[in-house]
């Protein structure tokens, strides 16, 4: 981007689930725009590896299911940099199974990370963002919040909850100049998709998952493309956006056929 001014110069950002995948891409894009990134993950070594490769970044291990750990994560960012400007609750997991074969433990595993975790990130980051005079919360939801995909019902339900949380947080926090907007991507060729392609084909009754992707969304999206939206939303350029859920999915959710 040569001589253009950086969009997030000196902003302090926490990204959870940033040891790999979408979170890592967001952390890298933020650092490239001048942010000081707190790279967080339950995988401490993975978070450290990402942080070591980014200027101004630090790693903080965090299990987003545990209130005290999320509180400590926010405190670590404030202790280190004196403020917090951006929180990206991105950590998420999925279990692949039909609802009738989903154990309660599996349901709680998914909802505790994907929904409880986002609540806790909002709950503990908001006071720090208010103290900084305003800021951004950008939860990673999914287009499955809007339309179902067989085998990931618990994931989709949690992501729909994330979109709802973003709406309430937006209207409760907007007087404090805190903007909350969710990102709803589909389908990125993640490890999850790769690992479970055959199960999706069987359960959806389709011979070739990749062919359906090609027909419905042209190709797989990339983590870097999702990260560009996360940059835009955290920048001053999206100052009128609040409580929105932004779909980026190659068009898969926008047409019926």
């Amino acid at each position: 981007m040569s001589s253009s001014p950086l969009l997030l110069q000196d902003k302090v950002a926490i990204v959870t689930g940033a040891a790999r995948g979408l979170g890592e891409a967001v952390a890298r894009a933020y650092a490239a725009e001048g942010a000081r990134v707190v790279v967080s993950d339950i995988d401490a070594a993975g978070a450290q590896r990402v942080a070591d490769s980014l200027p101004g970044a630090v790693a903080v291990a965090c299990d987003v299911r545990v209130p005290a750990q999320v509180e400590a994560l926010v405190q670590a960012a404030v202790d280190r940099h004196g403020r917090l400007d951006i929180m990206v609750p991105n950590a998420g997991v999925a279990r692949v199974a039909p609802l009738i074969a989903t154990s309660y433990e599996a349901w709680r595993d998914v909802t505790s990370v994907n929904l409880d975790g986002v609540f806790l990130c909002i709950r503990y980051a908001a006071p720090a963002l208010i103290a900084a005079g305003g800021g951004h919360i950008i939860p990673m939801a999914s287009v499955t919040a809007k339309a179902a995909c067989a085998l990931i019902g618990s994931y989709a339900a949690a992501k729909a909850g994330v979109v709802s949380l973003a709406q309430t947080a937006a209207i409760e926090l907007r007087a404090h100049k805190v903007q909350v907007n969710a990102i709803l991507p589909a389908f990125i060729e993640t490890d999850l998709v790769k690992a479970h392609r055959a199960e999706f084909e069987e359960q959806l009754g389709i011979p070739d998952f990749n062919a359906v992707i090609a027909q419905r969304q042209g190709r797989y999206g990339t983590p870097e493309e999702v990260a560009q939206l996360a940059v835009f939303l955290a920048s001053g350029r999206a100052s009128f956006s609040n409580g929105s859920g932004y779909v980026l999915d190659g068009g898969v959710s926008s047409s019926l056929l």
Binding site: F232, F240, G243, Y246
Partner: protein, 253 residues
């Protein structure tokens, strides 16, 4: 500031308001911009103020030949067209069934057929560019019912659905199509409708806005969203409609 460097854009309704703000930002970000408007003098004045990256052309978006000519003028001026912003639109503020049939048809012709014609005539050069991007200016009224804005809301809803189908059909041509849905923004259009809204609703407009979205949005903020969707940074976004409304639609009350 280079995200639109090299882009060759046609923007309708660009003499004033949102279209003008979009043209200004596009020029700032490095695009060449053709400002189209039924107000040819206004478009020329705005383009002149923007310098050598901007040109203007008269265009009544309800007239197929004029839309085709505006596309051709853009291709001729910039040696191509890779970005189309369908922004031209009008509003009618009155109870739904006080609209005359003529008012209804005129509004639909500008707000809906105009978008259809813009895409129809531009898709050839957009496909040829290999990086085609269409941004259609819809409205938050396109996603919700709005008392006094019934015909406008219906037309803006149509813009969203046109965008969605176009996105699916034009994907093989490498053209992305998205819509922008602003809440209340401080433009001459909103200034015009304030007395009507206040007279019918019985509440000062400023109080209404303060409760629902804290403040009016700015044309610049709408331009920023448009610029993002037009840029390569939005390469995975197509068929979407992006709401920016200060939280207006996130809450029920």
């Amino acid at each position: 500031m280079i995200e639109l460097q090299g882009r060759k854009a046609l923007i309708t309704g660009a003499a004033q308001g949102l279209g003008k703000a979009i043209a200004e930002l596009f020029v700032e970000r490095g695009a060449q911009v053709m400002l189209a408007d039924i107000d040819a003098e206004g478009a020329a004045r705005t383009a002149d103020a923007l310098g050598p990256q901007a040109r203007s052309v008269r265009c009544n978006v309800t007239n197929s030949a004029e839309v085709a000519a505006a596309v051709q003028a853009t291709v001729a001026a910039f040696d191509g067209l890779d970005t189309l912003v369908n922004n031209a639109g009008i509003e009618i503020v009155k109870p739904l069934f006080d609209n005359s049939e003529e008012e209804y048809e005129r509004l639909m012709a500008i707000n809906v057929k105009g978008v259809f014609l813009g895409m129809k005539h531009a898709l050839g050069p957009l496909a040829a560019s290999g990086r085609g991007a269409i941004v259609n200016i819809s409205s938050l009224a396109g996603t919700n019912g709005v008392p006094l804005f019934g015909t406008y809301a219906a037309s803006k809803s149509a813009v969203i659905q046109l965008s969605r189908t176009a996105a699916a059909e034009l994907r093989p041509a490498g053209i992305r199509v998205n819509a922008v849905c602003p809440g209340f923004v401080g433009t001459a259009m909103v200034d015009r409708l304030i007395p009507t809204v206040e007279a019918i609703v019985g509440v000062p407009f400023s109080a209404l806005v303060a409760v629902k979205q804290l403040r009016l949005g700015t044309p610049r903020e709408v331009a920023e969203m448009t610029a993002f969707l037009a840029s390569d940074a939005a390469s995975w976004t197509t068929g979407s409609h992006y709401i920016l409304d200060g939280g207006l639609s996130a809450g029920l009350l």
